[in-house]
């Protein structure tokens, strides 16, 4: 039974491998990608319900026992995230059918996509910090391929930056892992939690914690390490940008969640204060970018950065309410960023430009798209009862409990400005004077609507169905607040 835990990694991996055998048969590629993503969703939902009723699930790969071998740990946080990943992958794959272009599809697009999903799921599930690095590399390699895929000039330019930044941060990652191993003698996260606890407040632990913050901050686009993100997320085709914005920074954030709650939870005075300040500055910088730009893609990309600040504020507050909020917001942000990127992609297809000044009056020909965008925009800003609201509410509650009133205030202002930045797209791009007649539209977006509707509905469900979601999220937060349960599940003899 515990073998099931590998499936969120294995299904996309096998799907990707099989897709390598018939690259030129585009229809077969599409069907295969679609079917396997459906299977992936099924597997994940099954795992999620299983874990909720039976507690944390572990899998010792190859039968090697926990502190020595590699373990996969499926607690609710990890499996909630893999489930959301699968739920987002399916609509983005569907969206790719009509937007990515046959040339890209023939050159292993779906295979790379599946490998990316495999790496992301692996990073969420692993219980071993070196394996976390390996999964990072898997997803990064796939993302290097995707970001330059098609090889247009701007793509290659930005992919160069992207590769350099990530290679450097990966090098730091390995250095951090080596330090950690030198100090504690283990790489298993559960055992690390124990050993770091015994080491107490040694300064070297704080140094390592900061090193990891730099690494994950680079991957997760935390201030001041976000500089690579706007370029590299806005140049590739929308479907690729959507999967990057929905998932890649989230893996970095998830790693901060894990390391800062399970491992570095002893001496929080320095590390969590730094995290608090950085998260506040990230919100401010992100929102300034979101307001300043007049290009719809860039407005969204800067909103990705704002969300990073919001979520990490929850980690910095370090109490149960804040964690619930952060996890809720994280899950919803995966969905809503994917939704908004796809909507903007459809908008750009119709308008033929990504400049806000070149659009107008889209509501006349695309009423459904317009209202989808309106709902998604409100959900992003956290207007009740939509999806962004429960997360933001709990973040505010948790932040206030921890006494971080100033950052809470910053967050409120930032939320309003986020709303302003997206409503501006609504007012100018969707309402306003129509720029194009129906005949002048640059492309049909009919085929792009189903995934958008699906994602917006999912986001709405996260708001209206907050009651249903809450036990899942609460049990996910439980392992973060009280890592004992996590440690016992891994090391405590249920092998």
């Amino acid at each position: 039974m515990s073998n099931w835990l590998i499936l969120p990694v294995l299904v996309p991996l096998i799907a990707g491998i099989v897709a390598l055998f018939f690259p030129k048969h585009v229809t077969a590629q599409r069907t295969w990608a679609f079917i396997t993503s459906l299977i992936l969703i099924g597997v994940n939902i099954f795992l999620l319900t299983y874990i909720l009723s039976n507690g944390i699930m572990t899998l010792e790969l190859g039968g090697w026992e926990a502190p020595f071998g590699i373990v996969l740990v499926g607690d609710s946080l990890a499996v909630l995230l893999t489930t959301t990943t699968a739920l987002v992958a399916l609509p983005i794959i569907y969206f790719s059918f009509s937007t990515i272009g046959v040339e890209r599809e023939k050159y292993y697009y779906y295979a790379f996509f599946q490998f990316l999903i495999s790496g992301v799921s692996g990073a969420f599930l692993t219980g071993d910090i070196f394996n976390l690095f390996v999964c990072f590399e898997v997803l990064l390699l796939a993302s290097y391929a995707l970001i330059g895929h098609g090889g247009t000039k701007t793509q290659l330019k930005e992919s160069f930056n992207y590769v350099i930044v990530n290679v450097v941060s990966s090098a730091f990652f390995v250095i951090g892992v080596a330090y950690l191993y030198a100090v504690t003698g283990t790489l298993n996260m559960a055992q690390l939690s124990e050993r770091v606890g015994e080491a107490g407040s040694e300064p070297i632990i704080t140094v390592i914690a900061i090193l990891f913050l730099i690494v994950f901050g680079l991957k997760g686009a935390l201030f001041p390490l976000y500089f690579w993100l706007p370029g590299s997320y806005s140049v590739p085709p929308t479907a690729i940008g959507a999967i990057f914005a929905a998932l890649l920074t989230k893996v970095g954030i998830y790693s901060i969640f894990r390391t800062y709650s399970v491992i570095f939870n002893e001496d929080t005075a320095i590390t969590h204060t730094i995290l608090l300040v950085l998260s506040a500055v990230t919100m401010i910088i992100g929102v300034i970018g979101a307001i300043a730009y007049r290009d719809v893609k860039l407005i969204l990309v800067y909103n990705v950065i704002v969300a990073v600040g919001f979520i990490l504020f929850g980690v910095a507050s370090l109490n149960s309410d804040a964690f619930v909020g952060a996890i809720y917001y994280l899950l919803h942000d995966i969905v809503i960023k994917a939704a908004l990127f796809l909507i903007i992609g459809a908008l750009i297809t119709a308008a033929g430009t990504s400049k806000l000044s070149g659009m107008g009056g889209m509501i006349k020909h695309h009423p459904l798209l317009t209202w989808m965008f309106f709902i998604a925009a409100l959900a992003l800003a956290g207007v009740p009862p939509l999806g962004g609201f429960p997360g933001k509410l709990m973040l505010v509650v948790g932040g206030a409990e921890a006494g971080h009133y100033i950052v809470v205030a910053v967050m409120m202002v930032a939320s309003l400005l986020v709303l302003y930045s997206v409503i501006r797209i609504f007012l100018q791009g969707f309402l306003g004077e129509p720029m194009l007649t129906h005949a002048e539209q640059h492309g049909s977006i009919k085929a792009q609507m189903p995934p958008i509707v699906f994602l917006v509905a999912l986001s709405a469900f996260m708001g209206f169905g907050a009651e249903i979601m809450y036990p899942f999220v609460e049990s996910a937060a439980e392992t973060l607040v009280n890592p004992r349960a996590y440690v016992e599940a891994v090391l405590g003899g249920n092998s």
Binding site: N3, I6, L10, I17, L20, F21, P23, G62
Partner: protein, 140 residues
């Protein structure tokens, strides 16, 4: 400009077989001792690169008409397949087992399921290395 590479070509014809044999030896030597699919694969791709250097791309392609991308895919099937096998025996993923078998000529030998995994790695390494080198080499 025409290079006079008769020495390189002659030596290559001879030495590439030696390197390849050594690569195979290293490949089978793995598991208990230094060696295995990764180094074996790298060494084999070194042979192929040597051939590419001594002769030209067309000649090598005619001599060895291999689609290296397909080779990578087949290797992945082997590597992942050994992991998937664990589902049918209800043991943890990636578990391995071994046994002793008697072969004519060679005698008693240890065979492990890891060998199949390693064969996958071997193919993936050659496939990837050669795909990269051919892609760079073709670019004029």
């Amino acid at each position: 400009m025409k290079y006079n590479d008769i020495i390189l070509q002659t030596v290559t014809k001879f030495i590439s077989f030696l390197i390849f044999l050594f690569a195979v030896y290293i490949f089978f030597n793995g598991h208990q001792e230094p060696g295995g699919g990764f180094i074996g694969g790298l060494m084999t791709s070194a042979v192929l690169v040597l051939l590419l250097l001594a002769f030209d791309m067309e000649t090598v392609r005619r001599a060895l008409p291999i689609d290296y991308k397909l080779m990578t895919a087949i290797g992945l099937v082997f590597a992942v397949g050994t992991g998937v096998g664990s589902f049918f025996f209800s043991v943890p993923f990636l578990s391995q087992t071994f046994g002793y078998f008697h072969f004519p000529v060679l005698g008693e030998l240890e065979l492990t399921t890891t060998l199949a995994f390693d064969l996958g790695v071997y193919l993936v390494v050659i496939g990837t290395a050669m795909t990269i080198i051919q892609t760079i080499g073709e670019d004029k």
